[in-house]
Structure formats: C-alpha cells, structure tokens
Symmetry: C2
Amino acid sequence: MEEKVINTGLRGVTIASTKISDVDGAIGKLVYRGYLAKDLAGKVSFEEITYLLLYEELPSETELTDFKQRIAQERTIPDELVTFLEASPKDALPMDILQASVSILAQYDPDLKDASRDGSARMAVRMIAKFATIVAAWDRIRNHHKPIPPNPDLTHAANFLYMLNGEVPDDELSGYLDTCLVLHAEHSFNASTFAAREVASTRAHMYAAVGAAVGSLSGALHGGANTRVMQMLLEIGSMDKVDDYVRDTLEKGGVIMGLGHAVYQTDDPRAHILAPMSKALGERIEDTLWYDLSKALETKGKAAFKEKKGRDIYVNVDFFSASLYYYMGIAVDLFTPVFAVSRIAGWCAHVLEEQFAEAAPKTALYRPESDYVGDYCGPDECVFVPIDER
Amino acid sequence: MEEKVINTGLRGVTIASTKISDVDGAIGKLVYRGYLAKDLAGKVSFEEITYLLLYEELPSETELTDFKQRIAQERTIPDELVTFLEASPKDALPMDILQASVSILAQYDPDLKDASRDGSARMAVRMIAKFATIVAAWDRIRNHHKPIPPNPDLTHAANFLYMLNGEVPDDELSGYLDTCLVLHAEHSFNASTFAAREVASTRAHMYAAVGAAVGSLSGALHGGANTRVMQMLLEIGSMDKVDDYVRDTLEKGGVIMGLGHAVYQTDDPRAHILAPMSKALGERIEDTLWYDLSKALETKGKAAFKEKKGRDIYVNVDFFSASLYYYMGIAVDLFTPVFAVSRIAGWCAHVLEEQFAEAAPKTALYRPESDYVGDYCGPDECVFVPIDER
C-alpha cells in the first residue's frame, strides 16, 4: 500500500536531480555548479555568477566582457512597460508590480514563440538584465520621480543603485550589493524556484514560469522575510528593548524573524558573509544601531529559543541582509524585489534545466496526489438534490 | 537511508489532504465536495458549482440568487486594466495577457492587504467574476473592436458569449458552455492548482497564487492541450486523412493530442459528457466534421496505440472540448483562457484551503529536496580560480 506523507511541505522528498546547486543543511554548505558560494562571494560579480549558473562554467575574461555587455545592452525596458508603471497606483505592492511586469515583458520578447533552448536562454538573459531596471523604475515612479535610464558603463550592482538614487555609488558600496546579489542568486529547490520549475514542467515559456516564481517569492514565509526582519528591527528600535522583545515574542508563541530555515540546521553560510558587511557599512555611515540590534537579537534570540524549546535555532540569509539593505538606503518594502533581482538568475537556470536537461522527462509535468478527506456525506457520494428541493 | 524518487513529476506522491475534490483515475471518477461531477453536469450552473467549491455546500435558492448577483456586480474590470489591454500588442499570447491582468487586478483590490480568510474569499469572488470579462475584452480589443460591458442579467456562461460576440446566446448554447465551465472548474492537484497552492504556501496573496496557476495552465502539456487538439483537427481537415495522420504520428513517436492523461487509466468522465454536446452542437449548426473527425480519431488512435504499445490509451477532457468550443465560434487560441475562466474557481478554493484549512501547517511552505549531480570537479568542490588566472 502506498504510504501517505501528508502536509510535510515536501520536506525530505527528493523530486528531481539537478546540476545547478547543492545545499547541505546539516553542515551549512552551499554550492553553485561545483563551487562553494563562500569561495565566490566577494571575488566574483553578479554577472560572472549568472554566467556560471546559465552556462555551467565560470567565464574567461573575453566571455565575461561579452556577457556583461549583453546584460548592459538588455537593461532598457520597453516604453510600454514604463507607461504601465506610471499608470499604476503609487501604493501598489512592489512584488505585484514585478509579477505584472514579467507577463508584460513577455509580450515584447522577439523569442517568445521560440521554444528552443537557445530562445529560452535569450529570454532569460533579457529578464535578468531588466529586473533591476523595473524595480528601480518603480521606486522612482511611486515617489513621483522620473525613472533613471540604465548606465551601460556600470556593473549590474552599481547600475541598480544608480538607477535608484541617481548617484553612481563608490566601489565599496556597489561591491557590498554585488556580493548580496551573488549570495542570493541560487538556492536549489526553494519555494520560488520550485514554482518556476513546476510551471516550466507544463512546457509553459520562461516568462510564465518566472512570473510564478515572483508570486512565490512575495510570500511572507519566503522572500517576504527580509522585509519583515527590518520591520521587526524598526519596531524594536533601541538596544534596551531587545530583551523584552525576545521574551514577549516567544511567550506569545511568535517567531523571531530571520531565525530558522526550512533546510539549514546550522547558521546559514550566507549570513556569515552578510553580517560583517552590515557591520562595515554601519560603521562607514556611523550608524551601527541596526547591525548592533541584529547581533543582540541573534545572541538573545538563540539563547531564549534554546531555553524554551530545548533545541537550537540559527540565523538565515534574511537576518543580516535586512540591515545591510537598509544601510544602503533601499526602501524596506523593496528588499524582497531586490532578492528577486538576484534570484532571477537561479530561476532561469532551473527553467532551462527543467525543460532542456538531457535527463528531463519531456512529457511529464508535476502532478502530485492528494488524500481526499471530503466526508460530506459519509463514505458514499452525496446524492444531488435540485435547488428547488433543497 | 532516504529513498530517492527522481523525475517522477510527483506521480503517486501524496502531498496534502483536501476536501475539495477527488479524482479516482482507475475507475474514472471525479467528485466535487462529495458530489459526482457527472451528477452535477447539466443540472447546475457555473455559479452554483463555484459556490459549492468555495463554501463547501450547494446553495439554497436565496443563497444562489445572492451569489449570482455578487458575481454579476463584480464582473466589471477597472478602466486601467482596459487601458492596459488596449496598449498591448495585438499578437500577444492570450494567456500572457491573462497572467498580467491577474497581477494588475491585485493593485485595485481593496482587500489586498487583508490576509484573513474573508478578505481572501472576497478577492476570490472578484477574480472569478472578472476572468470572463478579461478574456472577452482581450478578444474584442485584439480584433479592433470595443469591449462589450458585462450584462448583469445574464448567467456567467451566457454573459461570456455575449461579451465575445455582442449577441445574447440562446439557452441551448449558453447551457453547453455552462456545462463546460462546470466540468472544468476543479480537478484536484493538477499542475496549475498545485502551482497556486505552492505559491499560497509561502503566504503570498490570492492574486500572486492565481497568477502562478495561469502560467502553469498555459503550458502545452496542461491547459494548452485543448488548443493543440483543435490545431490537430484543423491540420487533418477531412475524414480521409485520419488513418494517415494516426499512422504517421505514432510512427514518428509523436502523440495524438487529447489522448492520455496523468491520472486517468480509463476514459476521462468529463469527455463522456462533452462528446454528446459536441455532436449536438455540430448537428445544430450543420457542420459535424470536427465532431466526426474527433470520433474517428478516438477509435483509430486508441486501436493504433494499443497495437503499437500493447496497452490502452484514453480520451481526456481536452479531446471533445476542442470541437465544442470551435462550434461555439470561440477563437482557437482562446480555448486555454476559457479553461482558466472555469478553473479559477478551483484554484481559489485550493488557495483558501492551503492557507486557512484547520489542518494546514501555518509555518510550512512547499520546499522539496533535489539530488545534486553536479560532478563538475569530481566528488570534491571545484577550486575557485580568479578570472585573470583562468
């Protein structure tokens, strides 16, 4: 008899093979196409890692120069999309704007009806290039400013900050963001990537799949968590409130945002790289409060959780990225879109793998089973009664 | 040791309990909240079945009158959405238009930030009401006609045909469409519904989840199949070509669209209701070719498949809905959006169940495991080499 595993959220259920990344939650290891993410962080750009994710190897200097140029050329978004952004209500949720934008971009992609791997890869590069432009343009427009056109001479990270603020950031600042983008680019079968693969398994096109991923990332339990970490820090507001916050939250059965992860049973390896960057940036702008609060919350939250539950809890990727983005002057409700600006690289790599990897079953889509417990009329089916006899 | 089940598309893997519907693929049984779909077809309206799916019981006369009124009132789409449709390229894919529209609708829903069950259910009713309007408006606009405002005095099915063609259909015609909408409204954890639940599991809102479902339904292996069935019938074109088509297709290792299903190992129970409607409508308009072709293709396709593969194959829901929609004068590339006009009811019921059912785990999202096979540098991790040393 088939064993029924129910409501596990598919934890521990292996559903596909992948060459893209490996997460070993027990020891806190994250690998992108053979390379430890921690070996790459700070040494490669987002463009370089995107190349690795899409094409399976690190680029040569010439390949990277070409690829950077391609990304830079593809950053401009269609006028019709700008018109749409300008017509949208200023209080729209940024992730809704991004999800709509994906489906709108589809309409202007010359490769949309080319179902080949090459056609899909070209769509991927266009979308990866344009995501930062969309997010920055929306932030400008909702604040009654004109969008700033992308600057092809800047790196992807530097250009994003430039399009947001109108100022070219220095190398230190853009380097921090670049490392954030590298660290968020890919994380195996997380919920949004799985959504992208699920949609891709029906042979829907790249944009349809990425649109689903954006929807999934918007959830409070997934990409929405970095925004919620910052809202928590802002709510706490000062170092003397940390003890009370931790105690009150755990007493009410709540969770401390940024602690705990679906896969890691140790500190998230990305958090160890993000934390020192948050500290350094706080010191640079002489405002270490948000980093200090995070550190205190980490120490006290971990201890209190251990005392209450008898087991350990660990920081995840959102815990220190929150203060880091805040120090960069990025709006709090833009943190999740910034996550998307990076994760789009992983999503696209997974869609390509789902649809074109040699081992992929070309006629199978994800179609799980459910356990029907609708006992509306006992073990038998209900007898239909016409409405005038009900 | 954990057993690794790979690339099965989750077939046979039970991932959640549900009270919404039951599909027994072995005997061809489909149940909506306790009732056999075949007992409901032809006896209830789409509005009535939507009420059943959302609220767990068939409505009383008063409840149904109220609900129909609510649906009728919510059919109008925001002017901004019409403006968007008018600005879209006329050759845009209708499912991309629909996916974009979902995210745009989100911006105008007053309940968007209300994460309660009631708020989500109100969003659901609005979206269910508006889907038909969007699809009809898009078909008008792309054909350089003005959209026709919904008529609140018509049933959902009749109003859809009215908004498409500008003529109020008679009861026979609208009744056929109504039965199609009833039969397509819900089908357990199919790929698009699973996509909606996957996104909802992150606590993303109703629109984000439905946007993902639209993307999934657009795929050629899923909702896209009804369009492909009609394209196949048009390609065959006459009765004397059926034999050759079946032989050539199977010889080339191809599939006959509309034969075969992920779950049913017998005829799809919906096909048995759709087929006579296709026949009747063909006779009514004195053009039975597309029905006759379908029947011949069914008989010959099944026999040839059995001979070649040694096992049986069965018709699915798309096989006869194709000719039926074609007889109704619906554009071939609109068949999948018509599917969505119906399935939106099931999607919304599943999102509500995923987020609010008592048994739902409030802090778990779908996060499966994958098997990492990225042997880029043998069993060890690759050693990072800076770009100037590569």
